[in-house]
Assembly symmetry: C2
Homo-oligomer: 225 residues x 2
Amino acid sequence: MEVQLQIKMNEKLFLRNPEQTELGKKIIQHSIQLIYKNGFELFTFKKLAEDIGTTEAGIYRYFENKHRLLIYITAWYWGWLQYQVVFNTNNIKDPAVKLKKVIQLLATSVIDDDKTLHVNENLLHQIIIAEGSKAYLTKHVSEDNKEQLFKPYKDLCAVIADIILECNPRYKYPRSLASTIIEMAHFQNFFMNNLPSLTDFGKTKDELKVVSFLEDLVFSSIRKK
Amino acid sequence: MEVQLQIKMNEKLFLRNPEQTELGKKIIQHSIQLIYKNGFELFTFKKLAEDIGTTEAGIYRYFENKHRLLIYITAWYWGWLQYQVVFNTNNIKDPAVKLKKVIQLLATSVIDDDKTLHVNENLLHQIIIAEGSKAYLTKHVSEDNKEQLFKPYKDLCAVIADIILECNPRYKYPRSLASTIIEMAHFQNFFMNNLPSLTDFGKTKDELKVVSFLEDLVFSSIRKK
DNA sequence: TTTAAATGATAGTATTACTATCTCGTTAAA
DNA sequence: TTTAACGAGATAGTAATACTATCATTTAAA
């Protein structure tokens, strides 16, 4: 049986839905490759168009600008990750085991998911680590937020916060702890590989140590009294 | 008695030392104001030059490009903050009290320091919250890091890690916890004000709650067992 | 088969991110 | 006292970026 996975995206993120056309899917596919390769600052619609073999104007029919495209692919990632979380924690009763699963999903590399042909989740994960925060670290966050552009991130945060509360209903900071887990899963990975002295894993560069650190951090916070 | 504070900066950060000339100081002063006002993306040397009343070419004599200028002002901030930490924790014996002081310095607003006339530390603190990570989230982090451009950040992280070890010499992740404190002090503040549902402080928008969250997080981690 | 939607091709503009050069006024060493 | 070095102002120019607009052509749905 072949299953195809579609993440439903907020309509305000694009001008024309990239999931629905060949060119649209190529835009997503190639922008992931290009941003992964050159970083978001050096990424332009001109380069993307050349890479695909279309024209700049063609890309602008799908996305208003490159920042919207970045929000789109990060939103896609958070949507996909929430699916992974729900799928992988299904039937697990112990909330602590669930939470460990979540940390592992956030902090370790991802295998390319065959259910989504035009998206390479492994590259996407790397992009989120290095470029993810640029999606919201802008002067227009609040307006973007009003348009619900960050809903997938916030939904994921809420799901994790709920698991935290299952572990300890009296814990006072479930949402802040959830966003801390998400951000630190990525930042500690980035630091480990690029600014190693900001972490304790510079020598081995082992993702599993980030997992151990986060588990230690999270469970000592929510378990005490 | 009047004391003037000078932060010694890495020579590779600039082409000409901005601390040593009038124009240089104006560049720092006005770039802080402009980045605060418009955000880093919309900040250009042209606008800066107009704001100061000089020419674009004049700015380029001091800084290679706007990204280097961002690294400069963030590096300046971390240098200044380390001075604040050392100054404010001097004579405190109890490492836990020290650590609380550090969290407070990181997570709460800053009063403009009269010892540095051309730098408004309060605005700078806001800039670090919203733009700070852009200094290192680039494809050329590693090269920049080899030139020691991030030393002040790493030094501060090391100072905090040492205080953590004073609290509990057997704690396994002092550096990662230190960078987590630094980053989360800023991100939780940003989230609280711009994406409130990612935190538990959206209603009150009270910095002191970020402090409480961080204290709870940190001390439950290092104190357990 | 018609017709609308999607794409391709081309052109053009304002702004950004620089580089280069020449002048002029200060200052500080010869 | 001269002179040269330095900081700064003024002007010019270029390649790339971030778009917008228009028109022709192909493709796919009604």
